[in-house]
Each structure stands twice: as structure tokens, then as C-alpha cells.
Amino acid sequence: METVVTEFSWGIALILLPLAGGMICFLWPRRTQILGLVTVFAVALSVGGLAWQMLDKGVYRHAVGGWGAPLGIDLYADGLSLLMLATTALVGFAISVYSAAYFKQEDAIRFWPLWLFLLAALNALFLSGDIFNVYVTFELMGLAAVSLVALAGGRDALGGAMRYLLAALLGSLAYLLGVALLYHGFGTVDIALLSERVEPSPVVWAALGLMGAGLLLKTAVFPLHFWLPPAHASAPAPVSALLSALVVKASFYILLRLWLEVFEPLISSEGVYTLLGLIGAMAVLWGSIQALRQTRLKLLIAYSTVAQIGYLFLAFPLAVAVGSTAWSAVAYLAISHALAKAAMFLAAGNLVRFGGHDRIADLDRVVQRLPLTAAAFALAGVSIMGLPPSGGFIGKWLMLEVALTQGRWDLVVVMLLGGLLAAAYVFKVLGYAFTQAEVAHEPKTVPASMEWAALLLALAAVLMGFLAVPVLSLVDIGDPFGLSEVRP
């Protein structure tokens, strides 16, 4: 058994399993729910297998087709991708349990194949070491996500899905032009080889501009975030949880991977870093203020995503200094945000299912009738606000620590202000949950599995507050942030 676990190439399982699962679900619509759950569980196990393997054999590498880097495509996974895979598996499993109870039969037939292909795209993206291959996974992810958003039907969902599709396609095309330039400039599309061959030249600057713009659009950072709130708010609850928690993080992951491997060594001028930091700061403030102004719960949570993504970009100016741990803080923030945001959207889904609407003003005595959902929303809120004991707090603490050691007072103020605004909009929702309702709504029952899925995710976000040491040591496998040259 021991050798099987360490010898078997888990990366392949992570990609082929959901693909096969998606096809079988498509072929056999009557059993689609059970098949879907089994596949997602199997994916979660394979991530466990991969983690076990990487713990004792370090970085995971696999040359597809046996051809090796410049010609063929390489699969590559280090600590950072392992963590993203683990988050995807965990959040994906909880959302699958939730969706099993959420969707009626004819919607389930359409949901499961799309979701499994999205899962395959996410896993393929986190494992890929080839920028053209990443383009294909982006397209796969984009089309699946758009179709899932459009599942809800109705004016808002279709408008949101259309806006999302146009933004995703535009982003992918800009990214593809960047790939074309890099290929013709340096003769390869493999990230590792690129990082060796790249030297400052107009091609690299153009590629940085194009791919950066494409990825910023797909990550919905502040000036380019217009498509996110309508899409995430109007989609069915499990889908908005998927989008906010995982899909948005995938393009950020690629931006980070490209930035660390290819572009960072060439950036000498401070300008680029401060620009990204500025974008992040504006995203945090603008997103939080917009979230505070919303009257509908799902729009509030969607704008909260825009704000939390801003936090991730605050790390760019902080990562300049040698040996700075800003990136591990970003990894931690991304993961706890994924867990907490997924829990929040699932809780919102329960509220909509229970009350029939998501107007915040009359979220009446839901806390008595749906105590588990209210608890899930509160615990997720704790992590979003960055209050201890939660993963969000640890991420915020690490970021503040780096900012203070570098004396970046502007970023410190933005982080604290962001935390206060987050507290404002989270408690705005929680405050309503305690009030007495004049008219007793006729409640529809919410299946227990849906409430427990939201609560378990929220508890995971809080538990992340105590797992900092093991998780951060996991991130350092394969030294994704290039700290090794620095460490004494």
C-alpha cells in the first residue's frame, strides 16, 4: 500500500477523475447525483494522496506524453498549487453535498456534468506548468462557469452570465496574445523554461501588460470588477459559492505564478508594484463601501468578494523586500477567504430557500428558525472580518506584520479600514437576524444537509485560525516564493 500511494501519479487522477465523472454523469442522467458525489469524494482522496506523496518526495512533476518541457507539456505542483488543490477539493466537496439537496431533478441533470468539468478545469489549471495549456483550462473553466450561472434562468442570471462570458473571453484573448508574444520571443511556453530564458525586452513588457490586463479582468480587480457582482449574485447559491471561492482565485493563482516565475525578476521600477498596491487598496475600500450600501444579501456578499480580492493585491508592494513573507500571507488569506465566502453564499442560499427572498431589511427571526445557518454566516463573517480565532485573522496578522516591518503605513491603514468596513456589513446582516418580524413568514423547510454543509465550511474557516504552522509549512514545499536563495 505504501509504495502505491507514493508511486502513483496523483496529478493525473486529479484531472482524469472529474473528466470521466462528468462524462458518465452526462451519459447516465438518472444516477447523476450519486455519481457526482462519488467523483468529488474520489478527487478529495486523490488530493490527500498527492499531499502525502509531496510531503516525502517534494515537488510533483509529470512530463505528459513523455516528451519533456519545450516540446511537450509538463504538469508541476509545488506547495502553493497543492494548497489551492486542497481548498478546491474541500470547498468542492461541501458544495457538492449542498447541491445534492439544493437542485431538483431536472436541474441536477444539467448541474453535475458542468460542475465536474469545472472541477477538472480547476485541477488542470493548478497542475499545469504550460501557459498555453492554462489558456485552454481558462476557456474550459469560463464556459463551464457561465453555463452554471445561466442555470438559474431569468433576466438577472442571463444578463450576468452574458456579461461574465464577454469579460472572460476578452480576458482569455488578451492572455492568449501575451502567450503568442512570449512563445515567439523565447521559443517555449513552459513556465520553468521561460523563467530561465526571459530577459528584459519590449516583448516581455508587452506580454506582461497583455497577460496582466487579461488576468486582472478575470480576477475582477477594482477597475475591472463590473461583471462579478451581477454574475455571482444572480447565480444559484452553490454556483455563486463556487465562483467566489474558487474560480476567481484560479486567475489570481496564475497571475501570481507568472509574476513570481517570469516577470518579477525583470521588474526594477517601483511603479508597477505601487500600481498593483493602489489597485488593491481601492478594491478593498470601494468593494467594502459598495457592500455596505447593498440591500440584497447576495449582492452584498458579491461585493465583499471584490473587496477581499483587493487584500490579495496589497501584497505586491510588500513582496518587493528580500525575504518578505507577504506571499505566504496571501496564500493564507486566499484559502480562508475561499472557505468563509463559500460558507456565506451557502448560508445565503439557505436564507433564500427559507424566506423566499434575500432582502436584508426583513431577514426576520431567521436566527431562531435556521440557527445553524445563522451560526454559519456569523462564523464565516468572523473570518471575513479578520477577527480571531479565524483563518482571516492569521492572514491579516501576517500581512500587517510584513507591512509594519517595512513601514508601509498606507497599506496598514487600508487593511484596518477594510476590516472595520467588513465588520460593518457583516453585522448589518447579523443585526437584522435578531429583530422581531412583524409578519411571520410562511417558512419552507431547509434540508439539514444544506445547513450542515454551510456550517462545516464556516467551522473550517475558523479552524484555519489554529492550523497556521502546519499549513504554512505545507506551502513551502518546492519553495514557490523563491525565498530559498534568501534564507541564511
Binding site: 470521466a20 452526462f26 451519459l27 458542468l114
Partner: protein, 321 residues
């Protein structure tokens, strides 16, 4: 040599400017139908450009899929659009709206011009001679099982991309089907010309597809081009209001659609178990395996593209049992 380069220059210049002019007209033409037709013409001109750049495989793919099928999809959508929105076509009154629009959009226009100039500079800064990966492709060509370098790259060296791309095609169909259904009742009988044309062309197209599939191993052609031609045959059939038998559209259709990506996944698993690397073809049997892959993929792509043209999940019509 002098005359030849002058002639070449004349041809390239004409083709390049033609492309830009057609694209510009397609984008700014007030009538939507004319815009689509211009786009199809642009696609055909594009195919000419690929031939000029020694990329016959791409020319085939572009002609069949880029110009042909996308054009068909656009025209079908346009027809359904006028059906849905009721009025035939937006009156030319829109043309001065476009003109006003230009004053309104001067700011993005200028930034775009700057970006284009910047990209021009970048392109021109590239070294005049670059072999890219052609050396590696040539050296590994003999162990790839096919002699046509493009098919070798597509199916063997970067086979993983093609696997994902097959899934993208299937996923697009799933997305289209999740958006809605169409009943497959038989519309009005096709006109005489369309009917005879279909009867002659469809078998011919199937023959061409088979040839393209076979020739792909050592000359321009291959699964996607053959699949596109098969798809064109399917579109022609659908246009002449042929519909598959009612009980064919249940699981058999789904099986045929899934077959392409499924064969890839199965092949990948088998190869991994035998050779230890994902999609690693043993050099000896590579040719045959690739041919099997391509054959199944062609059929699956053809059916998927035809189904995409249909635009909705085929459901039993009310009239049909």
C-alpha cells in the same frame, strides 16, 4: 527574383489590406445581415492568408470551422433573432448613431491606437530568424507515429491540449443544452434545389471527411478538419429539415457526443498504466493508436458541431411518440 518579390509584395499587401478592410466593414456595417456576410468573406480571405504562410492544416481548419461553421451559426442566430425580436432589421437610422458613437468613443479609440503602435514596435523588435520548436519537432517526428508535423504536435507532443480541447467542445454543447431545449418536429419540406443539393453534397462531404482523416497522418488534414467537414454535412442535413429518428436522440446521441473525449480519456488511462506517463504513445503502435483516436474524434466532433448548430437539446416533438 526581383519581379517575383514585387509580385509577392503586391499579393501580400493586397491580402493584408483586404483583411483589415473587410474586418472594418464587418464591424461598422449598419445592417447586421450584411455584417455577417462580410465576416464570412473575411474568414475565406483568412484561409488564403494561411495558405500564403505555408499553414495548409490551419487553412483547412479555418475554412471549415472559422468561416464555414461560425458563419452558419451566426446566420442561424441572426434568423432566430429576427424571429424573436419581431422586426426584420434595424433601420439604417443606426448609421449616424454609429457616427455619433465615434465622437463619444474617441478616448478608447486613441488608447487603442497607442496600444497598437506599441505592439507594432514589439513585433518589429523580434529577431528576423527564429526556429521556435521546429528543430525539436523534426527530430522527434519519426517516433511520433505520424509524418505530418502539425498532426504530430496536435495528437502526440501536445496531446493533452487536444484532450482538454475536445472537452471544451463537449462542454460548449452541454452549456447550450443547459440553456434550453428544441423540439425536433419536422419543419416545412425543403425547397427542390436545397433537397437535390443535399442529396448530392452530403455523401461527397462524408467521403472528403474520410479522406482528410486518412491523409492527416502524412499531409495536411486530420481529425478537426475532417470533423468540421462532417459537421458541415450534418448542418446541410439539418437545413434540409432532416431530423434523426426520435429514439435516436436519447442515450445514443449522448453516447456519440461523449465518444470523442471519452476515447481520449480511456486511451490516456491505458497508456499511463502501460507506459507510466500520461498519453505516452509507444513509438511502434503510435500511428495506429493515433488513427483510432482521430477516427473516433472526427465522428464525435462532426456530431457535436451539428448539434451546436441545432442550438438546443433535442426533445421528442409533441407530434412524435
Amino acid at each position: 527574383m526581383e519581379a517575383l518579390t514585387l509580385l509577392e509584395w503586391g499579393f501580400d499587401g493586397l491580402l493584408g489590406l483586404g483583411l483589415l478592410w473587410l474586418a472594418w466593414r464587418a464591424l461598422t456595417c449598419p445592417e447586421l445581415f450584411k455584417a455577417i456576410v462580410l465576416f464570412i468573406a473575411f474568414g475565406l480571405l483568412m484561409a488564403l492568408a494561411w495558405v500564403r504562410l505555408d499553414a495548409p492544416d490551419v487553412a483547412l481548419a479555418e475554412a471549415a470551422i472559422g468561416a464555414g461553421l461560425t458563419g452558419a451559426l451566426l446566420l442561424a442566430a441572426f434568423a432566430k433573432l429576427s424571429l424573436v425580436t419581431g422586426h426584420e432589421e434595424l433601420k439604417p437610422a443606426r448609421s449616424e448613431k454609429n457616427r455619433i458613437r465615434f465622437q463619444h468613443y474617441w478616448m478608447p479609440a486613441t488608447t487603442l491606437l497607442l496600444v497598437t503602435a506599441g505592439l507594432f514596435y514589439v513585433i518589429l523588435s523580434l529577431p528576423p530568424y527564429a526556429a521556435g520548436l521546429s528543430v525539436e519537432v523534426a527530430s522527434n517526428l519519426d517516433t511520433s507515429g505520424v509524418s505530418n508535423p502539425v498532426t504530430a504536435v496536435l495528437l502526440n507532443f501536445r496531446g493533452y491540449d487536444t484532450l482538454l480541447e475536445m472537452v471544451v467542445l463537449l462542454l460548449a454543447l452541454l452549456g447550450v443544452w443547459s440553456l434550453g431545449d428544441t423540439t425536433i418536429h419536422r419543419e416545412a419540406a425543403p425547397g427542390l434545389v436545397l433537397d437535390t443539393l443535399a442529396r448530392v453534397l452530403v455523401p461527397l462531404l462524408i467521403l472528403v471527411a474520410a479522406y482528410l482523416l486518412w491523409v492527416g497522418a502524412h499531409a495536411p488534414g486530420g481529425a478537426f478538419q475532417a470533423g468540421a467537414v462532417l459537421g458541415a454535412a450534418g448542418v446541410l442535413l439539418l437545413l434540409s429539415s432532416w431530423r434523426p429518428h426520435a429514439d435516436l436522440i436519447a442515450w445514443p446521441l449522448r453516447l456519440m457526443l461523449v465518444l470523442g473525449p471519452a476515447i481520449f480519456v480511456i486511451m490516456a488511462v491505458l497508456l499511463y498504466l502501460t507506459k507510466g506517463q500520461l498519453l505516452e504513445f509507444p513509438p511502434a503502435q503510435a500511428g495506429i493508436l493515433i488513427l483510432i483516436l482521430e477516427a473516433v474524434a472526427t465522428v464525435s466532433i462532426g456530431i457535436t458541431l451539428a448539434a451546436l448548430f441545432l442550438g438546443g437539446r433535442p426533445r421528442r416533438g409533441k407530434g412524435q411518440a
